[in-house]
């Protein structure tokens, strides 16, 4: 097989509604399960599991009829949210082994229930030893994401899809060698080319059942009688397909959603649902070698309103436990106002950080471990209480800033220490403590407070600090003193000119 010939793989899930349901509820695997098009006993079944089929349940029958056939049949209503997520996960599985992939167009005919992605399989021998190894790896990745599917590799995307449709069970693979397309297609039934219903009916009336039957007919006459659609079918029958290069998807937004069978009003139950969504989301992120940089949680309430909130992470993480805690923390701090009937989680995948160790500088925490730790700390304390301290560009004595913690590597192995060691530091008091102060000639003489008490033995000051005069909320004016009280405490005492009271805002320590 020439490595220069373009090769395209198709990962195909034959029954998306059923697969999406089983992906969200893996505990139903092996049970008699059917997916109905809507609520009520008259709704039509659009997919049935192998166990349900074994018990005589047929698709395109009503729910009532199916229950009469199989009393313990589990019926789920088709969920567009689950199917959308499963379809997106299919693309993630493809992107885990190939950089170029795209969804196959949806079929309107007999293959409406299937979902497929095309991916570039050219030159994969170097990575996966062979095309068979590539197909097996792709099957395994898809199964890990809860999507048991078939994989076929051919010279064009449509041929690969047709070949994948021929496979019977999930996890099967097929390699169509170049030059063998015509022989492969000839005996296949015409329906496998996915013609439109009207065209398929006409061809059947003409007595055209297989691909070889179709190719035996005069093309000009077919075109004049059946229109341009039949020419597309003939091109497929000849093994010619679309050879446009597949795109490299740039969108890393991943979404998982679930429509709940019953509205949920308890946070514990909601947390359980969120955990399932998150585990699927993280599996997809991991498949694409990405990490979660934050979560957008959307709750569709029973009363029709929608609540959306952003849950940030201190650093990209793939830790399920940490993310569940972050979401629970967000839900507990702001519970939904009504019962929830649909939950959506969306994230922007960000590259997993890596670090190159240096011979000449100390090794800090590994980026992945640091990210996990920061997320855990954020879950414990809240996002606004974790970070790197910064000196605020402001003259208010209480001002400070926090920035995201991203430790910078040193410029040199040992940077000079600015200033001498042994500098007297202050301990901030947040909020400042109120103090009762006796004043004589404008200077504090005696202090009573929760931290410093007694006669003022020594003092320095005052130093006046003012600012924010343009705004009533920001305006401040302090006279600050350094005082040593009789109990030995050295404190920074200040008189607030606006509120006319004394405070201790720091202690020299």
């Amino acid at each position: 097989m020439s490595s220069d010939a373009p090769r395209t793989a198709c990962l195909l899930v034959p029954n998306l509604p059923l697969t999406a349901e089983l992906r969200a509820h893996p505990e139903l695997d092996g049970e008699p399960l059917a997916v109905a098009s809507g609520p009520g006993p008259r709704a039509e079944l659009i997919a049935v599991s192998a166990e349900a089929a074994r018990r005589g349940v047929l698709d395109q029958t009503s729910v009532a009829h199916a229950r009469a056939v199989c009393a313990d049949l589990i019926v789920r209503i088709a969920s567009p949210a689950l199917e959308t997520a499963a379809r997106a996960a299919l693309l993630d599985a493809a992107l885990s082994v190939s950089p170029r992939a795209s969804w196959a167009p949806r079929s309107a005919g007999a293959f409406a229930a299937e979902a497929a992605v095309y991916l570039d399989a050219s030159g994969v021998d170097a990575l996966f030893q062979s095309e068979a190894g590539f197909a097996a790896a792709l099957c395994a990745r898809a199964r890990r994401l809860g999507l048991p599917g078939n994989v076929a590799i051919a010279s064009s995307r449509q041929l690969a899809q047709i070949a994948a449709r021929r496979l019977s069970g999930p996890g099967e693979t097929f390699l169509l060698a170049p030059g063998r397309e015509a022989a492969f297609l000839a005996p296949l039934p015409i329906d496998i080319l996915d013609p439109e219903d009207a065209l398929a009916e006409t061809l059947t009336r003409f007595g055209v059942y297989t691909v070889s039957d179709l190719l035996a007919l005069p093309r000009r006459a077919l075109r004049s009688r059946l229109g341009p659609d039949v020419m597309r079918l003939i091109e497929l029958a000849q093994g010619r397909g679309d050879d446009t290069p597949l795109p490299v998807p740039s969108n890393a937004r991943l979404l998982e959603a679930i429509d709940l069978e019953f509205p949920i009003d308890r946070l514990e139950s909601l947390a359980f649902v969120v955990q399932g969504l998150l585990s699927r989301l993280l599996a997809r992120l991991e498949a694409r070698h990405l990490a979660c940089g934050g979560l957008a949680l959307t709750l569709q309430r029973e009363d029709g309103a929608r609540e959306a909130r952003w849950i940030g992470t201190a650093a990209p993480t793939l830790d399920l436990r940490v993310l569940v805690r972050l979401v629970c923390h967000a839900l507990e701090s702001q519970p939904p106002q009504a019962a929830v009937e649909s939950v959506t989680l969306e994230t922007e995948g960000v590259p997993i950080q890596s670090d190159q160790l240096d011979l000449f500088r100390p090794a800090g925490p590994a980026p992945a471990a640091l990210g996990r730790t920061l997320a855990e700390l954020e879950a414990l304390c809240g996002g606004d209480r974790i970070g790197s301290p910064r000196v605020a560009d402001h003259n208010h004595p209480d001002a400070f800033q926090m920035a995201p913690f991203r430790p910078a590597p040193p410029h040199t192995p040992h940077e000079p220490i600015p200033g001498p060691a042994g500098q007297l530091a202050i301990r901030a008091l947040r909020p400042p403590l109120d103090a009762s102060v006796r004043v004589s000639q404008g200077l504090p003489q005696h202090v009573r407070s929760a931290i410093a008490n007694g006669r003022v033995l020594q003092l320095a000051g005052p130093w006046r600090t003012t600012g924010g005069w343009w705004s009533q909320e920001e305006h401040f004016a302090f006279d600050s003193f350094d005082v040593q009280t009789a109990d030995g405490t050295v404190a920074r005492l200040r008189f607030d000119h606006l509120r006319k009271h004394w405070q201790i805002d720091a202690v020299y320590d």
Binding site: R361, P362, A363, G364, P365, A366, A369, L370, R372, T373, L377, L380, C381, R385, I386, G387, S388, P389, V391, A392, F400, Q401, M402, A403, F405, R406, P407, A408, P410, P413, H414, E415, P416, I417, G419, P420, A421, G422, Q423, L424, A425, I426, R427, A428, I451, A452, L457, Q458, L459, A460, D482, Q484, G488, T489, V490, A491, A506, V507, Y508, D509
Partner: protein, 231 residues
């Protein structure tokens, strides 16, 4: 003959020392043992035998204005200047970035965790130790209502040992008992105001080594802390 050669050699060495002067350094033990984090305050480093040990739990106890925050910031400054990553679990919400910057702390290498409750602070410290890679975790428990937590302290000591991180806990009075490998107590000795108009010049603090596995020498020292207006 030999007796005559000795003064000649000694004179040559003296001459070399005089010429080379500050380029020469006394050999022997390094100034900062790799297993210890020095504070840069000579009296305290001497008392501790080089600094606070890595992979061990240490305790700094003292009342307000005893110098424990200054000591902690000096430690942070030395660590961050060496390119180490550090963390400050601030149960008292007392860390002042301006003061730390003035003390020479490279703030972008400090993770500041502001946690209002003691159990949370202890859990945060444990998580930081489990992350492996922080050279120093400072745990500020110098709050009035802090109660001793011997079981947690032992667990923290074990985590510090497995991570190689120096865990230094600030308390108002000694609370960690035997879980601390090194414990020092600080007390204010003298507050210095000077000049006209008067300015706070600094603080002299009495440092007592109350617990050390192998006491390196004297158990008491006096350290001098200098004030700046920036603080």
């Amino acid at each position: 003959m030999a007796a005559a050669a000795l003064p000649t050699t000694a004179a040559a060495v003296e001459g070399l020392l005089r010429d080379l002067g500050p380029q020469l350094r006394r050999g022997g033990a390094p100034a900062e043992p790799t297993g210890r984090l020095a504070t840069g305050i000579a009296e305290i480093d001497r008392l501790l035998g080089g600094g606070f040990p890595r992979g061990r739990l240490s305790e700094i106890a003292g009342a307000p204005s005893s110098g424990r925050t200054s000591l902690a910031l000096a430690l942070l400054a030395r660590c961050t200047a060496a390119g180490e990553v550090t963390a400050m679990v601030d149960c008292a919400d007392a860390f002042d970035p301006r003061s730390a910057h003035s003390a020479g702390v490279s703030l972008d290498r400090v993770l500041w965790v502001r946690t209002p409750r003691t159990p949370q602070a202890l859990r945060c410290a444990e998580r930081l130790l489990d992350a492996h890679g922080f050279a120093l975790v400072l745990l500020d428990l110098a709050i009035p209502d802090f109660r001793s937590v011997p079981a947690t302290a032992l667990r923290l000591a074990r985590s510090a040992a497995s991570s190689g991180t120096a865990l230094v806990v600030l308390t108002a009075t000694r609370a960690l008992g035997t879980a601390a490998e090194v414990a020092i107590e600080l007390a204010p000795a003298q507050t210095r105001f000077s000049g006209t108009p008067a300015l706070l010049e600094g603080l002299d603090v009495q440092v007592s080594l109350v617990r050390h596995r192998n006491p390196p020498g004297p158990r008491y020292a006096t350290a001098r802390l200098h004030a700046t207006r920036a603080a």
